[in-house]
């Protein structure tokens, strides 16, 4: 057994570090570190920087403009990028639709859409969840009826992340309601400028606008925007969800969060004592570090297996559960380390000599609350447990 990266992987890691040091703009990293919302412009700037190096379509094969990385390279990049406070790569076009089109799209669809994803022409969002179809995705009701060479779409999607910026949405729609719920679903690409689409903001618990409801009223979509076969969209949806779950452990985020809390606790004074010297706080931090250390290796074991067999295993559901728990535990410790001042509303905190917290820490409580979402989205942790139950227990 050899747990270290190969010489080539180590060289790659050094290359990624150097790239981040040279190319990640300081102003963007500062905003990511402060936990605020990353703007559309920041995301687009960062995408363009990555694309100029050929590192944007990280899961794409080289023939479609990807860098030809395997799971280990992708993991190294994710970890280094999170530690450097790079913005996350917007997954909808690059990590979800791109791989779907490469596997299921027609030649025309690949030729048209893939370059536009890489060069930033199209901002994609995801039309999966509906008010009545969350964990039970297959119960979705948004309807698409074929009329000549068009589909007419009616219904509603929800939790549409950053849909307010989107040019296009990929949607699961019901084209047949007669069989089992998983049958009769189709995968459709819809231009957000089409008449009949309305986007309404959903404000989240901490006050931010990150998700939306999208309403469809008699929206006419060219039939050529169907991906794969009519009524076989569930096959496409499942493939996409598998891609969604890779990298879901968020190890890089947790490493960055752990180092940050540790440094904060070392400089925070509580009644003449450093917080890090408080045995209770230190013990909590140590317990999270142990979980994180284990998860790093667990994650590498899964990556090695994925590299070997060509696809991620069911254990990624365990990583999703534990990964989100560790991140949430670190969010919790970060907020707690700041004491009563953590309650300050981010963006409206007093400044100057009346400042309550360092500006980079003002978002701590907001991040804690916002990140309650990570155990809900991408298949809630309860759904992950159902997946594991079915795959492993044979009960």
């Amino acid at each position: 057994m050899d747990l270290s990266y190969s010489p080539q992987e180590q060289a790659f890691q050094a290359e990624v570090r150097q790239f981040l040091a040279d190319e990640l703009p300081d102003d963007i990293a500062a905003r990511v570190k402060a936990g605020g919302e990353v703007s559309k412009e920041d995301t687009e700037r960062w995408h363009a920087i990555l694309q100029s190096r050929g590192w944007l379509g990280q899961t794409w094969p080289e023939e479609h403009g990807g860098p030809g990385w395997g799971p280990v390279e992708r993991h190294i990049f994710d970890e280094e990028a999170a530690r450097a406070y790079a913005p996350r790569i917007l997954p909808f076009g690059l990590q979800m639709l791109g791989p779907v089109l490469i596997k299921f799209g027609s030649d025309e669809q690949k030729a048209h859409y893939l370059p536009r994803i890489l060069d930033g022409t199209d901002w994609w969002c995801q039309g999966y969840s509906e008010p009545g179809a969350g964990s039970d995705l297959a119960s979705l009701k948004t309807k698409a009826v074929r009329e000549g060479d068009e589909y007419v779409v009616n219904g509603q999607k929800t939790w549409t992340t950053l849909g307010q910026h989107a040019d296009w949405i990929f949607c699961l729609v019901r084209t047949d309601g007669s069989g089992k719920p998983q049958e009769g679903i189709s995968f459709l690409l819809i231009d957000m400028k089409t008449p009949g689409i309305e986007v309404r903001p959903i404000r989240l618990i901490e006050g931010g606008h990150e998700v939306n409801e999208v309403f469809f009223t008699d929206v006419r979509v060219p039939a050529e925007n169907l991906v794969w076969k009519e009524n076989d969209g569930w096959t496409v949806a499942k493939y996409l969800l598998t891609h969604e779950r890779t990298g879901i452990a968020g190890v890089g985020f947790s490493i960055a969060a752990f180092e940050r809390v540790k440094a904060l606790a070392a400089r925070t004074m509580r009644g003449g004592k450093r917080l890090i010297d408080d045995p209770l706080f230190a013990a909590r931090l140590a317990e999270v570090e142990m979980d994180l250390e284990a998860m790093k290796i667990f994650n590498l074991r899964m990556l090695a297996e994925a590299q070997r067999v060509g696809h991620p295993g069911v254990e990624t559901s365990m990583l999703k559960i534990r990964g989100t728990e560790v991140r949430q535990a670190l969010n919790d410790l970060y907020r707690r380390a700041l004491g009563p001042a953590a309650a300050v509303m981010p963006g409206e905190a007093p400044g100057g000599n009346a400042a309550v917290l360092a500006p980079e820490d003002e978002g701590a409580a907001a991040s804690y609350f916002n990140n309650r979402k990570i155990s809900i989205f991408g298949g809630s942790n309860e759904i992950q447990k159902n997946i594991l139950t079915k795959a492993m227990l044979e009960l």
């Binding site: 618990i205 408080d278 009563p340 001042a341 000599n353």
Partner: protein, 346 residues
């Protein structure tokens, strides 16, 4: 043995509950609690007119209560209604003013709004460890003064001749910077630099500790009220939300979590009752620690059991969830109080 509230307290709690229902419907509460001045002065006046503030003062001093169970009766209702009014300051200030022989009428009538300024950036929750210095004036910095956004008067702890003293500072004499809290309601920073102040108690250490314990108990009761609301709301949701062809409450994995949540809430309620009865520092510390831990659990579980809807601003649960997490950071968090209790084993 009798765990029923007295009729007087029950009546007070009922009329308070009704008034809060009329005044602080969740839409009004949400629109008001997050924007300056972070509370509703008309609501404050109505609460004062109902006589709520009399519950914080003993009959000897002209009030109608002043005991632990009076705090329980009031703050449980405030928690259930998620009321952002600065009543905690009044509950803590009343006995301090009484001990100092001050006139209580301005506090009882609601005309004077008191906030306790004890925390400092490097010494939260621990007045004894503060660095603010007092003589004829005050110099130092108080942080996260809960209710300081609305206060007309601050009671400030400071070092004076080697002892912990208590001063009164009028809001107009100090540099007060109000700020809104992420869970609604407000606080303030208090910058003191040769600030005019009146020393109320030159040797105030024990009195301040008692005031802190009253505040801690009040926060426990507030949490119990808010947790009951979250539990009931989550249970309703499990009965109405359908996925996979049935109410999600039919899934045993979720049923067990509800039962665990309810058990934890009953533990929290019980230790809060114990603290209200005994009113000694150790009982209060145990309550504040246990309640702080349970409150966070109830908050997180309520959101998780709801799924995405529990994450939204529009759905009232999210605001209760925020309050339940953030109140742990007031007047000593769970770790702070666990350490105090543990230190008695030595």
């Amino acid at each position: 043995m009798n765990f029923e509230m007295t009729d007087d307290r029950r009546m007070l709690a009922d009329s308070l509950s009704k008034l809060l229902g009329d005044l602080y419907g969740i839409e009004h509460r949400t629109s008001m609690a997050y924007d300056a001045p972070f509370h509703d002065i008309e609501g404050w006046k109505a609460l004062a007119e109902l006589g709520i503030l009399y519950a914080f003062v003993s009959e000897d001093a002209g009030g109608m209560g002043g005991g632990g169970f009076d705090l329980l009766a009031v703050f449980e209702q405030l928690g259930a209604a998620l009321c952002p009014e600065p009543l905690l300051g009044a509950a803590m200030a009343a006995p301090l003013l009484a001990e100092a022989g001050e006139e209580l009428e301005p506090l009882l009538s609601g005309e004077a709004i008191y906030a306790l300024a004890l925390d400092e950036p490097e010494a939260p929750w621990d007045a004894e460890a503060g660095a603010t210095e007092g003589g004829d004036t005050l110099t130092g910095r108080k942080t996260a003064v809960y209710g300081g956004n609305a206060a007309t008067h601050f009671l400030v702890s400071a070092r004076r001749e080697g002892k912990l003293a208590l001063y009164e500072v009028k809001a107009e004499d100090a540099a007060v910077t109000p700020w809104g809290m992420i869970d609604g309601g407000g606080a303030a920073e208090l910058m003191l630099d040769g600030t005019a102040a009146r020393c109320l108690l030159p040797d105030a250490g024990p009195a301040i500790e008692q005031a802190l314990d009253r505040g801690r108990l009040a926060l426990c009761a507030e949490a119990v009220g808010a947790m009951d609301w979250c539990y009931a709301t989550t249970l309703d949701y499990l009965k109405s939300r359908k996925q996979f062809g049935r109410e999600i409450g039919k899934f045993q994995a979720l049923q067990h979590r509800m039962v665990e949540m309810k058990t934890a809430i009953e533990q929290a309620r019980s230790i809060t009752i114990a603290a209200a009865d005994r009113m000694d520092w150790r009982s209060v510390a145990m309550a504040k620690s246990l309640v702080g831990r349970v409150a966070r659990k109830v908050s997180e579980e309520s959101i998780q059991l709801h799924g995405g809807i529990g994450m939204t601003w529009e759905y009232p649960l999210s605001h209760y969830a925020k309050r339940l997490v953030m109140l742990d950071a007031q007047l000593g968090d769970a770790d702070f109080h666990t350490a105090r209790v543990a230190a008695t084993y030595a």
